[in-house]
């Protein structure tokens, strides 16, 4: 066996143009990207949820802290939930200083991700326009721009003329019912290929020894010493996880689920301030690229971006009724089409290809719940509402630090579960998404 052959068996093949040419000429198959191993009976930590948050947490546990005896369990396949359903937008132009600092770190990690993980995540730093249709939202845009600038994040408020120059397809005249008065322009914002992020983290974590267990559903979290039934609840500690493939003993369980976050936490006796709402999105047929930036309108409940393939991706606000059902609705499509045409009348003949929805865990203040809980060894990285994807790298990094050091890192301290006891909420309703 040649030296190259031996190396290829030990580490994942490097993704590069040379590797592509070499494998193409030899006619080789690319090996499986991550292993499919038997479930062991004990791990140092178990991460529940194989989406970007769970995989990033496992990756940073292994890379930054050398904790590699980690299992990521998911009841379906990796990236099957919100990680593969979001509209892939990343940005850092939030409203509170806590939020801005946090999401800015995430954006930095996204910018270096392709090199770190050796996978093309198609990070496209194309700029992000948040439109204002009335005086009060223009005022919020100015507020956000000033908070952003203080934190060193590039944001500014621009007028209709400049908006027209950046995105000519937008109707910036005074004709629409909700004319565009200005926008918060955030050049570092953009879109990323969300599947590649999932695969990249999974591949890198697997290489360092983390095990990914798909189709492994968590049935119960085993605790002892708590004041609730079966030793669960505040004051207790985690001793293991019961799955449909057998019991695992572990001192640490990190809940990185979306949608089912409340149900998983209830297994450890922890109640969360979370309700589950579906969010619907849709995509059109591909056309020539004409929309250079991400466009968001809070008043019209819509955000729009054009993929590199040319499809327009639309996202909306969460559905008003809390449910675990992810059926789409005609009201959504009608409302979406009306609102998009209000912004861009020129695309009225475009056809929608498909619509889908994913589950969002909404918290009262539109900020996540991260860190330790009253149950020792049970950590949460949940409540990610409509903004989980853009925060995945920094969440993984900070949650891994919390697990490894046993202390809450400074960046996520404002998002602790205990803030609902102390009343120190982090109000991001104005900047978290659209139309709440």
């Amino acid at each position: 066996m040649t030296g190259i052959g031996r190396r290829l068996r030990r580490r994942p093949p490097k993704y590069s143009a040379a590797a592509l040419a070499w494998r193409g000429m030899r006619g080789d198959y690319w090996p499986r990207v991550w292993r499919d191993t038997e479930l062991k009976s004990s791990y140092d930590a178990v991460v529940v949820g194989g989406g970007v948050h769970g995989l990033a947490t496992a990756y940073y546990l292994a890379r930054n802290h050398g904790i590699t005896n980690v299992a990521v369990v998911d009841k379906a396949y990796l990236g099957s939930g919100a990680s593969g359903r979001n509209t892939a937008i990343v940005r850092a132009n939030y409203l509170t200083p806590e939020g801005v600092a946090f999401y800015d770190r995430s954006l930095q990690l996204y910018n270096s991700m392709a090199l770190d993980l050796n996978i093309n995540v198609m990070m496209s730093e194309r700029g992000h326009l948040t439109l204002a249709h009335n005086d009060s939202s223009l005022r919020t845009m100015n507020w956000r721009a000033e908070v952003n600038k203080l934190q060193g994040v590039n944001s500014s408020v621009i007028g209709p003329d400049e908006i027209k120059k950046i995105a000519p397809a937008l109707d910036t005249s005074s004709h629409p019912r909700y004319p565009i008065l200005g926008a918060l322009y955030h050049p570092p914002g953009g879109i990323v290929r969300h599947d590649a992020v999932v695969w990249g983290y999974a591949r890198a974590a697997d290489y360092m020894g983390v095990e990914m267990h798909q189709k492994t559903e968590v049935l119960d979290i085993l605790c002892e010493g708590g004041n609730g039934p079966d030793g669960k609840g505040p004051g207790g500690k985690v001793v293991g996880v019961r799955t449909n493939r057998g019991d695992i003993s572990t001192p640490v369980v990190v809940n990185c689920t979306a949608g089912w976050a409340g149900l998983i936490s209830a297994m450890a006796g922890v109640r969360l301030p979370i309700t589950t709402h579906p969010l619907q999105a849709a995509v059109t047929e591909p056309v020539k690229v004409f929309l250079p930036t991400v466009v968001v309108s809070g008043s019209l409940h819509v955000y729009i971006s054009q993929t590199d393939r040319g499809e327009l991706v639309f996202g909306a606000a969460v559905d008003p009724v809390a449910t675990y059902s992810i059926r789409g609705s005609l009201e959504f499509t009608e409302e979406l089409a009306g609102h998009v045409l209000e912004l861009m009348p020129g695309i009225s003949r475009m056809r929608l290809l498909r619509q889908w929805s994913g589950l969002c865990d909404m918290t009262p203040d539109y900020s996540p719940v991260m860190g330790f809980t009253p149950v020792d060894g049970f950590l949460v990285d949940v409540g990610w509402g409509t903004y989980g994807f853009k925060a995945a790298p920094v969440s993984g990094e900070q949650m891994a630090e919390a697990v490894a050091t046993g202390r809450t890192p400074k960046l996520i301290a404002p998002f602790a579960l205990s803030r609902f006891d102390s009343g120190e909420l982090v109000g991001e309703k104005g900047a978290a998404s659209v139309g709440h």
Binding site: T276, A322, T323, S329, L330
Partner: protein, 90 residues
């Protein structure tokens, strides 16, 4: 679309109503601790199954009422008694 069985107006599109969320008994103001108030304000059971919840029929009878809905299938059950108040006991 959800077809919500309003006790006064019959089945209505959910867009005609306002969703009030999980229904819990309000703590007694005379004896409740801050902890209980915070729990009442923020913490939710959020089950994937039968949930007791409130609705407001904003374009019909303009009354709050309580229903039970399966959050996994969106099926409703137990037609409520008229005059049920938001957050009231069953």
């Amino acid at each position: 679309m959800l077809l919500v069985p309003c006790p006064n107006c019959g089945p209505r599109n959910s867009a005609d109503l306002r969703y009030g969320g999980e229904s819990h008994a309000r703590p007694d103001p005379a004896t409740a601790t801050p902890q209980q108030w915070r729990g009442y304000l923020y913490l939710r059971d959020n089950p994937a199954g039968w949930l007791r919840e409130t609705w407001y029929c904003r374009s019909g009878c303009r009354r709050w009422f309580t229903l039970e809905r399966n959050t996994a299938t969106n099926e409703f059950r137990t037609p409520p008694m008229p005059g049920d108040k938001r957050g009231g006991k069953a």
